[in-house]
């Protein structure tokens, strides 16, 4: 018996399967940790790095321990306040699943803790989930005319930048070319609502600043936009509404045009004590010819080359005010789109629904595996065959998921459907191998080896056929179905190169008598 077990583990295919299984589990990295993962750290704090797990924040008068979501963190950050020192306790992973707890005092000078670090919920695995599983918005955008390659890349970059600046991470912008060569952009973002996305991506983002009828500067003159720096970006409550303001920086030419446009304007002092005086025209900011802001120009700027402007806005709700500011920053900091994009299809899925779908899929998957194995147990009535089947099927799924995690493939419904399909093909192949081995009641290892070899012919033809059927889909421009092709291909490759041979070897060693 010992000898047989030793032979099984020393078989190159079984050994390779085990190694890949372990590696895949590390790549997938199932996580059961509690706390919040640090996603951003201000450069001033070199000891703290993104990826560490925040466990506790200890302020002078307030301590937060059970941090489970971002709201908890923001609440805690508000509670510990400004101009104080907090101690944060965090865990860092020194080896897979081996954590070391450390603490670090952070001095908050004119800053909140949330200005220094940002956090997110800990991901349960390293797998990237599509919007059906994690929630989000998916849209198909049609440009108003045909585009060349440079324009396609410009639009892709611009949209990605806009959405990133707006605060959406893991933005996936790709394009689909249909059979007539027409292009449609395909955008998938893991959070946001239809309204927010429409506001962000429908706009071309062409800024024009005018004083009276004179154009002072345009989007081409913007050399920078203040984002996230509390010195040039503020959200304050003025007693009535939440006001936001942020600076944009203008080129030398734009500044010269400003000086030229303001040199002949009159100064007006609307307040009784003449504490504040302004010029008699406003600086009107238009985005895509839509007025977004009219700024009063301070009298002391008359005829001066001004290289920055402050964009202001407001809303009674703080969150809406912040979102409006982010939208403007996102649009102004990205290059304007060379053409208008029309949203032709859009779909919104809430994170709660995504969670429900994930749970439903897990239940489905477990029940399917259990049901198939009860059936196979009834058919073969041999625990050795069942053990080999279960080991190989389980390994195949984990290795496929591990590879998907390694190449950072987004697991959407189509990808999962591909895995289910490939698992089905895998079980079929294992049935073929088992049937060949059991055919004619071959008993010696060499006889079984011969039968396994015969079964491989069907397995290899089946594999080649599936690849032939899938290749057009994998290389097709239909990005939303590519996941199906890619995961099926990964699973088929894992199956034919590693797990099917391992299954054959397991049967040889488990059932063979000599």
């Amino acid at each position: 018996m010992k000898e047989r077990i030793k032979k099984i583990f020393l078989d190159p295919y079984v050994f390779l399967t085990l190694i890949l299984l372990i590696l895949s589990l590390l790549w997938i990295h199932p996580n059961f940790k509690k706390g919040l993962v640090i996603t951003y750290v201000l450069e001033d704090i070199p000891n703290l790095k993104p990826g560490y797990i925040l466990k506790k924040i200890e302020g002078v008068n307030y301590t937060c321990t059970n941090l489970t979501n971002k709201k908890d963190f923001l609440f805690c950050s508000d509670k510990v306040g400004l101009n104080t020192t907090v101690i944060i306790y965090y865990e860092k992973e020194i080896l897979p699943y081996l954590y070391k707890t450390e603490s670090l005092p952070i001095s908050l000078e004119n800053k909140k803790l949330s200005d220094i670090i940002d956090v997110d919920e800990i991901k349960q695995t390293n797998l990237k989930y599509g919007i059906e599983l994690g929630g989000g918005v998916r849209a198909i955008l049609k440009p108003e005319r045909n585009l060349n390659n440079k324009e396609i890349n410009n639009i892709k970059e611009s949209l990605e930048l806009r959405l990133n600046v707006y605060g959406v991470k893991q933005v996936d912008v790709s394009y689909i070319i249909d059979y007539k060569g027409r292009i449609n952009f395909f955008v998938e973002i893991p959070r946001g609502s239809i309204k927010e996305i429409e506001d962000l991506i429908k706009k071309e983002g062409k800024l024009t600043a005018r004083i009276g009828n004179k154009t002072v500067f345009t989007y081409e003159d913007i050399v920078g936009v203040c984002i996230g720096n509390p010195e040039c970006q503020k959200v304050v409550f003025d007693g009535r509404i939440w006001r936001f303001m942020f600076s944009i920086y203008i080129s030398k030419k734009g500044a010269e045009r400003f000086a030229e446009a303001t040199k002949d304007l009159e100064i007006v002092c609307p307040y009784t004590y003449k504490t504040r005086c302004y010029l008699n025209e406003t600086l009107d900011l238009y985005i895509d010819e839509e007025l977004v802001d009219s700024l009063r120009i301070s009298a002391d700027l008359k005829g001066k080359e001004v290289d920055s402007a402050t964009i202001e806005g407001g809303h009674p709700n703080k969150e809406v005010a912040i979102n409006n500011m982010k939208k403007l920053q996102a649009i102004l900091s990205s290059k304007p789109l060379p053409v208008k994009l029309e949203i032709t299809s859009i779909q919104e899925i809430s994170p709660e629904y995504g969670k429900e779908v994930s749970n439903n899929l897990i239940l489905l998957f477990l029940l399917a595996v259990v049901a198939v194995y009860i059936y196979l147990a009834f058919v073969y009535r041999n625990p050795l065959i069942l053990a080999a089947l279960l080991f190989v099927c389980f390994s195949e799924i984990i290795i496929t998921l591990g590879l998907a995690s390694l190449i950072q493939w987004t697991m959407d419904i189509a990808s999962l459907a591909g895995i289910i399909a490939a698992v089905g093909t895998g079980v079929n192949d294992q049935i073929i191998i088992t049937e060949e081995v059991l055919r004619g009641k071959k008993e010696t290892t060499s006889e079984i080896k011969e039968m396994v070899k015969k079964a491989y012919f069907i397995v290899i033809v089946g594999f080649a056929i599936s690849i032939a059927a899938l290749l057009p889909l994998i290389f097709s421009p239909l990005v939303f179905l590519r996941g199906f092709g890619v995961t099926t291909l990964l699973d088929l490759l894992v199956g034919v190169l590693i797990t099917r041979p391992a299954y054959g070897r397991l049967l040889e060693k488990l059932l063979g008598k000599k």
Partner: protein, 289 residues
């Protein structure tokens, strides 16, 4: 023992004694399934109904049962369709289909007012133009897939006969599926076409099995065929268990459509492979001898 002897009797009766006569069964089934498509084409100009993701329109999914169906009928009067979502035999929500784009916010707000939580409402807006162009692209991919598969089968068997019969059997499976879906009033969506692509793999697996046992194995032909049929049935039952569970348990429309298409596929595949392709290949083999 009893099951296996009954199985042997049925197998011998159908596939050994009357293998020439049974060819008529898949042909009749094919004709039966073609009829709804011809009927549909005569009345609507299209062989089958296309899904909202191809024709365009608005789909509102309500993942809640906490709403009066009369309220849904209020907002779904003209050119609108209500479908119930059933999972594990229990009602789990509703789907509203509008063929034209309407004011999404108005409907969403109305539903929220009536007590539906915002996170339970999923909105999908689809463009007909884009959907149709994607559908056509997918059909082209399917055709290319078919051609490549025929080439691969030809390469392995070095004979045109299995290559053509395997491809034709898969084509018959597809026509049968489309006919049944039309009969059941289920529209063809982009995922149905993907499932058909997946079916090529499944269907070709069983055809390859048959062809291998016909052309590449030694022993009595009847025994070889019986063995191949046994394997095929074992495989198909395992797959049918998975697909049936997917239909019953899944709450996701896409997964249910995929599973239904594949379940129909494996049922038709057994019929087309064993009652059509198999007998025809045998007849030709005997004539060659």
């Amino acid at each position: 023992m009893k099951i296996s002897s009954k199985f042997s009797k049925i197998f011998e009766f159908l596939f050994i004694k009357h293998y020439k006569k049974i060819i008529v069964i898949p042909i009749l089934i094919l004709l039966f399934n073609t009829f709804p498509m011809v009927y549909n084409f005569y009345h609507t100009g299209k062989p089958f109904d296309l899904g909202i993701d191809i024709t365009g329109g608005l789909k509102i999914t309500i993942k809640s049962t906490n709403i009066d169906e009369n309220v849904l009928r209020d907002i779904c009067k003209v050119n609108c369709e209500i479908k119930k979502i059933v999972s594990l035999g229990k009602l789990s929500g509703y789907e509203l289909y509008y063929p034209e784009n309407i004011n999404i916010d108005e409907i969403k707000n109305y539903l929220i007012q009536k007590g539906v939580k915002e996170e339970s409402i999923i909105i999908g807006k689809f463009s007909g133009k884009v959907g149709m162009s994607l559908f056509k692209t997918l059909v082209i991919i399917l055709i290319i897939g078919f051609i490549l598969v025929t080439v691969v089968v030809y390469y392995y068997f070095r004979s045109i006969l299995p290559a053509i019969s395997i491809t034709f059997s898969t084509f018959m499976d597809m026509v049968n599926i489309l006919g049944t879906l039309t009969l059941l009033n289920i529209p063809i969506s982009l995922i149905t076409v993907t499932a058909l692509l997946m079916l090529i793999g499944y269907s070709e697996d069983s055809d390859t099995l048959l062809a291998t046992y016909l052309y590449k194995r030694q022993g009595r032909l009847n025994e070889r065929l019986k063995k191949a049929f046994q394997i095929e049935i074992k495989e198909d039952i395992a797959a049918a268990i998975v697909f049936t569970l997917m239909i019953i348990i899944s709450k996701i429309d896409l997964i249910r459509t995929l599973a239904l298409t594949l379940l129909l596929g494996i049922i038709y595949d057994v019929i087309d492979t064993w009652m059509f392709t198999g007998p025809i290949q045998r007849i030709i083999m005997e004539k060659r001898k």
